[in-house]
Chain length 206, copies 2
């Protein structure tokens, strides 16, 4: 894990600058460990920065120094390859009638890298075996992904969940079940198959 | 587990009748335990009735007495709720333009029963954590499901896999991640959303 003694990496919009330097090189790791425990125990919604700071035995201001948001802390704690905070606005920014294609291509390209895929699959594995972790993941997905996309596109959340379920199922068929040929076709070919489905779910409600 | 001392339950078309009665009330259980080990070790394709009989220390004819096919033995060994042997022909039998609706409704209705859902989710969990088991499951799915549907509908296997991936993803979103509202809508409503997608993948190749 990278340590950031100075400069507050992981801090984006809204990150505060502190008057003093963080305590030790390990502070960030300490906060992340506390975050993991707290999220697993309380879920995403009920976890608070204050509670995580208390468990890490640091000042809440220090938590804010490292992480701009609870979401950012979750992303770092679970070692997720992307921060929806940053990625979703970019994906939604282009033409509405191509959003399905952008999403399908983005998800397939990202998961084609083992380094990005592994932590995501680890999270799914965890959700399958641990009720509490499933709650934590559901709350994060709802908060960071589903609600945000539904709101931005002005469609009911179930339509975003349907699009998610298609991409989710396809990634698992490709990388966990490794069905052939879905496991070995090029990203572009698979994206071409999935894009119309995703687009159909995300089209403006009629 | 139900024991069948006489009559050879699990034996369907092609099941042989034996000249003598099976050895003990436990023979079927013994065969299933041997089948589980063999499938996990060799995968579905390379496992043989002869090899399973050897491991169970019974005559191969006795295996045939209990199970009509390797597929039927897999279904019983994994305690799967359905036998694709029986279900798929029935699902494919109706009008082609409604096959998506029939499949979506069938999968959602079946998985709405915890007793049917649990062994299926157990299998997915296993596939996520164990490479060998993933191979076993992939081979079974390919042999028992994908190839058969692709052949019957005369479409490329990837289209069946895409349909499968949508239903698979939806079931996981509903029962593992429990995203709302996808987790709590009625089967009919969810089937209504998924049917056009599944139908689109399974329509005759243009």
């Amino acid at each position: 894990m990278t340590e950031h003694v100075e400069g507050g990496a992981g801090r984006t919009a809204g990150g505060r600058r502190l008057g003093r330097r963080p305590g030790s090189a390990d502070t960030r790791g300490q906060i992340l460990a506390a975050a993991r425990e707290t999220f697993a125990e309380k879920g995403f919604d009920k976890a608070t920065v204050r509670g995580i700071a208390r468990r890490a035995e640091v000042d809440p201001a220090l938590v804010h120094h490292y992480f701009a948001s609870k979401e950012g802390m979750f992303v770092a704690a679970m070692e997720l390859p992307i921060n929806p905070d940053e990625v979703i606005p970019a994906l939604l920014a282009g033409p509405r009638e191509e959003v399905g294609e952008r999403l399908a291509r983005f998800v397939l390209t990202m998961t084609s890298h083992a380094q990005a895929r592994q932590p995501l699959l680890a999270l799914v594995r965890t959700a399958m075996t641990n009720e509490r972790m499933a709650t934590m993941i559901r709350e994060f997905l709802t908060h960071a992904l589903i609600s945000r996309v539904a709101q931005a596109l002005d469609i009911p959340p179930i339509r975003v969940e349907l699009a998610f379920s298609q991409l989710f199922g396809a990634v698992l068929a490709r990388y966990v079940l490794r069905l052939e040929p879905i496991a070995s076709v090029e990203v572009e070919e698979l994206a071409g198959h999935l894009a119309p489905t995703v687009q159909g779910y995300l089209d403006p409600a009629s």
